[in-house]
Symmetry: none
Subunit: 216 residues, 4 copies
């Protein structure tokens, strides 16, 4: 693997700073976590977006959240076809091996993946329709959501609505996994859908009774 390079020095320096401070202060706990294993209370599914950090927003320290991050925080439908499904593997591990008590799907404002879905489904981005486009094929998961927002004329409102649809589609797809549906039924697992406005710092959560997202 002759293409690998040493880390850029700015990251090396920051690592050494972390090792001498945060790691040193918490060494006893980190060693215990290493020896005894993780027992996270919740699984978070959020976007890869660099502006979204669930550990900050929810004050989570090492050992608290099992975090899966992908484009647009999407969960595909259950499809046990013997192919490689990374998100499905993460959910399966969290629910059946780690037995998390919560799965929280968090969408966010200004999501590039969601914007790509809008562009693709509205015909503005034909390259995303190509078989070779990984982003396009991944955003196919959100097509059912696009159908529900395609008539919204205001662009910002439409983006916001599709970002929230991404959360809803993921929650519905989670329920297609038998081990998820079973754990929800027995009360061993609860599902939560939230949407975060990265500029305003606010968080809204889906309330079934209202059928809408409401500020937390």
């Amino acid at each position: 693997m002759e293409n690998a390079r040493p880390l850029p020095s700015y990251l090396v320096q920051r690592f050494h700073g972390w090792k001498a401070t945060a790691y040193a202060e918490n060494k006893a706990w980190y060693r215990r976590l290493a020896d005894e294993g993780q027992r996270p209370r919740a699984m978070m599914i959020s976007c890869c977006d660099s502006r979204v950090h669930v550990t900050s927003i929810f004050g989570a320290d090492q050992g608290e959240f099992f975090i899966h991050r992908n484009i647009a925080n999407l969960v595909p439908p259950h499809e046990p076809d013997g192919n490689q499904h990374g998100t499905s593997a993460a959910v399966e591990y969290a629910v059946t091996a780690l037995k998390v008590a919560h799965i929280i799907v968090m969408g966010h404002s200004k999501c590039g993946g969601v914007q790509g879905c809008l562009d693709m489904c509205s015909g503005r981005a034909p390259q995303l329709e190509e078989k070779s486009s990984f982003v396009g094929r991944w955003m196919d998961i959100l097509r059912p959501g696009y159908d529900r927002v395609k008539d919204i004329t205001d662009e910002d409102a439409q983006s916001r609505a599709l970002e929230k649809e991404a959360v809803m589609v993921s929650l519905e797809n989670l329920m297609t996994f038998p081990f998820v549906a079973e754990a929800v039924k027995t009360g061993d697992l609860s599902l939560h859908g939230v949407w975060h406005d990265i500029g305003e710092g606010s968080v809204e959560q889906y309330i079934p009774g209202k059928g809408a997202f409401v500020p937390v």
Copy 2:
């Protein structure tokens, strides 16, 4: 979606605490990031494991790292077959849309996914071989790495070796993506492989000249 529930109150309280402190202190920057878009310098590919937080270890704040987290920080080989490939979509978006300058793959000690691969490939976990096992099918990505470590008798040393193989396999698979190989060739993108000992707090990086991981 009648199965969704409100967030547990301990997370709500922590969010409000974050909003009133960290968000309030950084509001100007977070608003700019929201308005102008993200421009992360690096993509991090790390494990979902609750004990691993690259933002802590490398002191990254909002806007710095585009972070994809999956089971055992694996990247599958390039396979533009029209199916949904979440990790491939994340890499495609990072390299072609965001034009990140670095992709850093970070493995870690005590990785449950890697342990699952060891169990599966050694015959100790037949259920992971089943077509319906998402974790098993995902860990198939690491089989080439297993072949290189299967004769190591000490269990800890074998786990550690396979954790590092996960990083190497991912780096090699990244190079099978034409847009990655192209950007590496022109010098617009560099790849990095690191392994983190979560109990000791140390980080090692792969140095091609040595053909091994060396403490940072």
Copy 3:
């Protein structure tokens, strides 16, 4: 005291979050409580167990409960021998200085201290019988309760019964304190015994007329 270390940063952040939200919202009341003194209506005696929080279960805010927490929520018999008795000091302060109107002893399911008592009294844990075992010598308080449950064969039922005996023994020992017996006689103080199932979330209370614990 060169061994003291700064607080881990996750606690510092959570504190700052609390200060900016819950404290800020309640500042007027907290300042009054600080200036005028506490006037709690009840003393709670509960276990140190991390899963038991009487302030949550009974919705108590700052100023409401004077809370003493020890291993297995035990109260030793009155013994004014000039030695240091922390629980006795807490009871004395609550009854004679703060003049609380209620003392509530709350036991709970899965109590580690009670399990230790079972192991010790049944001979399964000889190390707890040693003079140097603080936990063992503390659990001696519960020996009278063990005698009443030792013939119960079902393990879960026996643990549950001894957890409730811990509450009863504590209530009986409270009555050996003259200032407690006096205040109960004049009607200035009432005693209450409850048991909380931490998994089911239920609470049972001791009803003398029934001679048993009954769901609240």
Copy 4:
């Protein structure tokens, strides 16, 4: 035990409210904690004072803190004399059975126990010197701290200083427990001393390098 009474109805109502809301939202996690046991990261030693709730201040939810509360958050010196020592039992359980990573001693402003110690040591409260005074005998633990503050003339400053001495004396006494000193030496346990101003909402922590308490 004919003296026990049913819970006051205001507490029953609050319990039912908690059961229907907070418990219901977190049932999956609470059941897991009940089944698998507690694994608290830290032990908190704080005062019984009704105005001090470490779970609020540090945003701790069920399962996070093993909490021992006594008068003036004191830890007596190690004394394995075969008598009942409740605080020593709590520390022994936390360190040797639960293997907590941190012990945090938190003192606070306007502490009644500390005021009692000032009154007793200065001769203003002869009744606290009596053999039969549990509070007096408990506050004997703090006499070494009184000697260090007895010449401070301003009353508020003297109280504040003795409240901080209570934290220091407890930390020093913790180190007299062999299992504590051993765990500190191997890096498996760290000790922390903090003082909380209940009116102002602030927290200060002891920094050895400065030999003083400094705002967090």
